[in-house]
């Protein structure tokens, strides 16, 4: 591998998770071997993607062109800096998430674990495909496979609720991508004659400002995975999935695929200069701002922890969209940084939510009084994640916001600044009370009532797993879970002190 060419690494990054997906079912009857396959696959993938970082920073843009499927358009891969950030985030966190999954899936006696790991590997392969796609057609292919491979994960529980959520998930994601994104791609191909991601864009001077604005709208709302309101409903619905799915896919791989695609389209299809000169993109800022504020307001009202995290994700995703909508190089650096920062922080928060569910069978925030004393590791990690959501140093969340603010101030756009300030306050309002509850509310008096409520609400689960986890008498979650969430919490901190990798890549992205 050390003397492999970047092109070999590129193809390996797609093939490895797919081979993993083929191997996993062979060990259906040997869970330990099966999980070893997942871990080895994840480790190999991350090392392959990381070994692309050097060549890319040295200026290489490894490229592979596959078959031409429609006239003039081929399936093709190409590594560029932004895709590198997303690829690194997805592949690195997959390792941590796999460790976590082992603890969670076994700790909760989840059924059909083999198909769970298979779908997961396919989802990661498609995430890498999105990251390294060289044109819109390839991206669209991987984008749809990602939706389809995560559908069985969302409906994993096979309950009526899971089926209903699965419908919302599929119809919204497939619906928006087919009805809006696909026409946008087709129109782009017809107008520009290509769909290659090209620095500076491919639409300069080809459309009137109004049409340009309309095409951008097709993209922004067609990329449902970016969860810009009003096409965000699939994300809270997806929370019915097992927590590792929510953590890696619906806080990192799937949603980041969305905002990544938005940024990529803005930078490499439209070109920020073309968009800025058209002057027809004010609505883009407003849509992102609206989503940031309103999703935060909704998050405030959620008592279910995973739902609150989901709406927080909706809000945070639009930071990235906002970074793209500000249309300055600095704000784009902020958007790229936020992709990495939010990934580490949000996966930590979901890990913590799943840890609480596994150890204490609690899903509602109102039940969490004093839980910090029983689960100190989990709740400390949660606190770090929460600080990152608010955007406080020394967490990675600070960096993205900082660059976005600079970009907005530098180009005298006041709306984004106001929005970022208000949303920071809102983020604090819905995250800090959880931390306060966990550490500073006594358990002695309140937990009896809360416990009664909890016993009623998670009754079914308690009966099933009651033997080894009584809800009031618990400690930390299984070791793999704690290990995973501490790792990602440390990553959230480390990214603040050592932001070189995403910073270098983000800077490489904005340099022509």
């Amino acid at each position: 591998m050390y003397d492999a060419t970047p092109e070999t690494l590129l193809i390996a990054s797609l093939v490895i998770p797919l081979i993993g997906a083929l191997l996993i079912p062979l060990f259906h009857r040997h869970p330990n071997l099966r999980e070893t396959v997942t871990l080895i696959t994840a480790g190999l993938l991350a090392s392959v993607v990381w070994s692309l970082y050097g060549p890319v920073m040295a200026g290489a843009r490894p490229e592979l062109v596959g078959p031409e499927i429609v006239p003039g358009l081929s399936i093709a891969l190409k590594v560029e800096p932004l895709g590198m950030i997303y690829g690194l985030v997805a592949s690195t966190l997959w390792i941590v998430n796999s460790i976590y999954s082992i603890g969670y899936m076994r700790g909760n006696n989840e059924p059909r674990q083999t198909s769970f790991y298979v779908c997961f590997a396919v989802a990661i392969a498609s995430a890498i495909g999105i990251a390294f796609s060289a044109n819109l057609i390839t991206l669209f292919l991987a984008y749809e496979i990602l939706t389809l491979s995560t559908y069985p994960l969302v409906t994993h529980k096979a309950t009526d609720e899971a089926r209903k959520s699965g419908r919302t998930y599929l119809m919204l994601l497939i619906g928006t991508s087919m009805v809006l994104l696909l026409p946008a791609i087709i129109i782009t191909a017809a107008v520009a004659g290509t769909t290659d991601f090209t620095p500076g864009g491919i639409l300069d001077g080809k459309l009137t400002p109004v049409l340009l604005s309309g095409l951008l709208a097709l993209f922004v709302f067609g990329i449902g995975k970016a969860a810009v309101m009003p096409v965000h409903f699939w994300l809270p619905a997806a929370m019915v999935a097992p927590t590792p799915v929510s953590a890696l896919l619906h806080a990192v791989a799937v949603v980041k695929a969305g905002v990544f695609t938005v940024v990529k389209v803005v930078v490499y299809i439209f070109g920020i200069d073309t968009l800025r000169q058209s002057g027809a993109t004010d609505w883009f800022l407003w849509v992102a701002s609206f989503t940031i504020i309103v999703a935060s307001l909704i998050a405030l009202r959620q008592d279910n922890l995973k739902k609150r995290l989901a709406y927080s994700t909706v809000s945070q995703l639009s930071y990235v969209v906002l970074g793209a909508a500000i249309l300055t190089p600095l704000s784009l650096v902020g958007a790229a940084m936020h992709i990495a920062a939010h990934a580490c922080a949000k996966i930590t928060l979901f890990f913590a939510a799943g840890s609480i569910y596994t150890a204490a069978h609690k899903t509602e925030i109102s039940e969490l009084d004093g839980i910090g004393h029983k689960m100190p590791w989990t709740m400390s990690a949660f606190t770090i994640g929460a600080l990152a959501m608010i955007g406080l140093p020394p967490t990675a969340g600070f960096l993205g916001k900082w660059f976005m603010l600079q970009g907005a101030a530098g180009s005298a756009q006041w709306l984004p600044i106001v929005v970022i300030v208000i949303s920071t306050i809102l983020n604090a309002l819905y995250f800090l009370p959880i931390v306060h509850r966990a550490f500073f509310r006594g358990t002695a008096t309140t937990s009896v009532d809360a416990g009664a409520v909890a016993a009623a609400s998670v009754g079914a689960a308690s009966v099933r797993d009651g033997e080894h986890h009584h809800h009031d008498d618990h400690g930390e979650a299984p070791f793999p879970i704690v290990l995973a969430l501490c790792t990602t919490a440390l990553m959230t901190l480390a990214l603040f002190f050592f932001p070189e990798v995403p910073m270098n890549l983000a800077n490489a992205m904005i340099q022509r």
Partner: protein, 498 residues
């Protein structure tokens, strides 16, 4: 060898026709099947040979019957268009025949099985004949041969309603054929010829003096063929016919019968009428586009509410035929290529879907959607193949259906009608609903006791299904055969036009 190659056009028909005669003399199903298998096995090689030759030389192959020179004698004229359609039909025949053995053995009484294969071979010969002939009247003869065979195939369905469906189709089909032959008669009166190529040259001068009969002929032929190809709203015979025919017959017909009729429509428009009639001044294209859109939406919506799985797919066929006619009606290179690509892709995908339902019927005897609850756990490969082909129908990227839709959408934009792009994708969304509904029933419901003993079908049924499902994906990436050929055909048909 060259002597045999010269006779390929007639062998294309003679092989299945001769097979039909032989099977009529057999007593046992297995013998009849073996003969049918040999005939079906040879046919695609002939088609492929013809297609390769016309693609290489760029010249149509002309074969005159009994050495009577055209236009007096009957001419078989193979160009890229019909060589391509011949390949579609004969390939579906080839892939279907292994499947036929077990499926037919359970659904058809043993003494009727030889007749069933006779009818199948007659149908195959008829469909290939419609496509290969260069003679308008000869096309009518083959149209009748294939139709009569089809009525019989449908009537052999186990459900008594198969008889009524066959009768319904007989009435509608006869009206269609009659309309077609009235049109042919009018053209003959005006020009004195029945040869398509000859018609194209003689209609030009005749237009000046006899323009009304020619337009009437065009109207009669259009309506007549539209009945056979089930263009909305002339599709009412199709859902019942497909639903009650034996599983194998449905799968074979869904892939081939309507395709031959669509070919005939394309032939008379692009090779005959477009040359002489100022089509741009008549709203022909607009009318067919409107009907195609109606098919894409109304038939898909009907499919969503259909309870019988085969009928659901039958309505889906009506909708998918709408895509093909839409592309042809756009009458520009990308549109026509899109229609032709979808002809191939739809044949592959729909045959796969009906194979899957046939396999489920083989193991359970059931066909209602709700009775197949939980089938995904009992027949995982069959159901997975259904899902893959269903994704193709939806047009998910990475499947054949995506390629079709891309061509059609670019064709719509080149026509100046960008709104059509949105119609195409919106109707795809309806396919998500009806395929998704089956997926939910197959995977999320607990298996009913009736299907408790169901398991994968025998390899002879499973293999063709899996091959077609794999082809659905393969043709989403390697489009040289479909897209490449379709583009050469569109260039050939439209000449210098954009």
């Amino acid at each position: 060898m060259s002597g045999l190659q010269e006779h390929l056009p007639i062998l294309q028909i003679l092989v299945p026709l001769f097979g039909a005669i032989l099977t009529a003399f057999t007593r046992r199903g297995i013998t009849a099947w073996a003969i049918a298998a040999i005939a079906s096995g040879i046919a695609p090689f002939i088609s492929a040979g013809l297609l390769i030759r016309v693609l290489e030389t760029g010249q149509p192959i002309s074969y005159v019957m009994g050495s009577w020179a055209a236009p007096w004698g009957i001419e078989y004229r193979v160009d890229v268009l019909n060589a391509y359609v011949l390949l579609i039909i004969s390939l579906i025949g080839l892939i279907s025949i292994p499947y036929a053995r077990k499926s037919v053995a359970t659904e058809i009484d043993s003494h009727k099985q030889p007749w069933f294969y006779t009818m199948y071979l007659l149908c195959l010969a008829g469909l290939l004949g419609i496509v290969i002939t260069g003679d308008a009247f000869n096309a009518f003869v083959f149209l009748e041969i294939s139709s009569l065979a089809t009525y019989t195939l449908i009537a052999l369905g186990r459900n008594r309603r198969a008889l009524l469906s066959a009768y319904q189709y007989l009435i509608m089909g006869t009206i269609g054929a009659t309309f077609y032959i009235i049109g042919v008669g009018l053209l003959y009166v005006v020009t004195g010829t029945l040869n398509f190529a000859d018609l194209a040259t003689k209609l030009g001068p005749a237009m000046a003096t006899h323009n009304k009969p020619i337009l009437a002929a065009m109207a009669f032929m259009t309506v007549g063929i539209s009945l056979k190809l089930a263009l909305f709203p002339l599709h009412v015979w199709l859902p019942n016919a497909y639903a009650y025919a034996p599983s194998f017959a449905t799968a074979f017909l869904a892939g081939t019968a309507t395709k031959a009729a669509i070919y005939l429509l394309a032939r008379i428009y692009f090779s005959v009428f477009a040359v002489v009639v100022p089509l741009k001044e008549l709203p022909v294209s607009e009318v067919i586009i409107a009907l195609s859109l109606a098919a894409m939406f109304l038939a898909s919506i009907t499919a969503i509410f259909e309870q019988n799985a085969k009928r659901m797919l039958a309505y889906s066929s009506v909708a998918q035929i709408g895509y093909i006619t839409l592309g042809l009606a756009l009458a520009n290179k990308m549109g026509v290529a899109g229609g032709l690509v979808h002809m191939f892709n739809h044949a592959i995908m729909k045959t796969a879907l009906f194979f899957a339902l046939g396999a489920m019927a083989y193991r359970t005897g059931l066909g209602q959607m709700s009775s197949l609850a939980g089938i995904g756990r009992k027949m995982p490969i069959t159901t997975a193949a259904f899902v893959v082909a269903g994704l193709g129908l939806i047009g998910v990227p990475g499947t054949a259906g995506f390629i079709s839709k891309w061509y059609l959408a670019i064709g719509a934009i080149n026509h100046g009608w960008t709104w059509l792009v949105f119609m195409i994708v919106l109707s795809s969304l309806l396919a998500v609903i009806y395929i998704g509904r089956f997926v939910e029933i197959a995977y999320f419901r607990e298996p009913a006791p009736e299907i408790a003993n169901a398991h994968e079908p025998p390899a002879s049924m499973l293999a063709p299904l899996v091959i077609l499902a794999a082809a659905t994906i393969y043709l989403g990436f390697d489009t040289r055969l479909t897209g490449g050929t379709a583009q050469s055909i569109a260039n050939y048909l439209l000449g210098g036009a954009p």
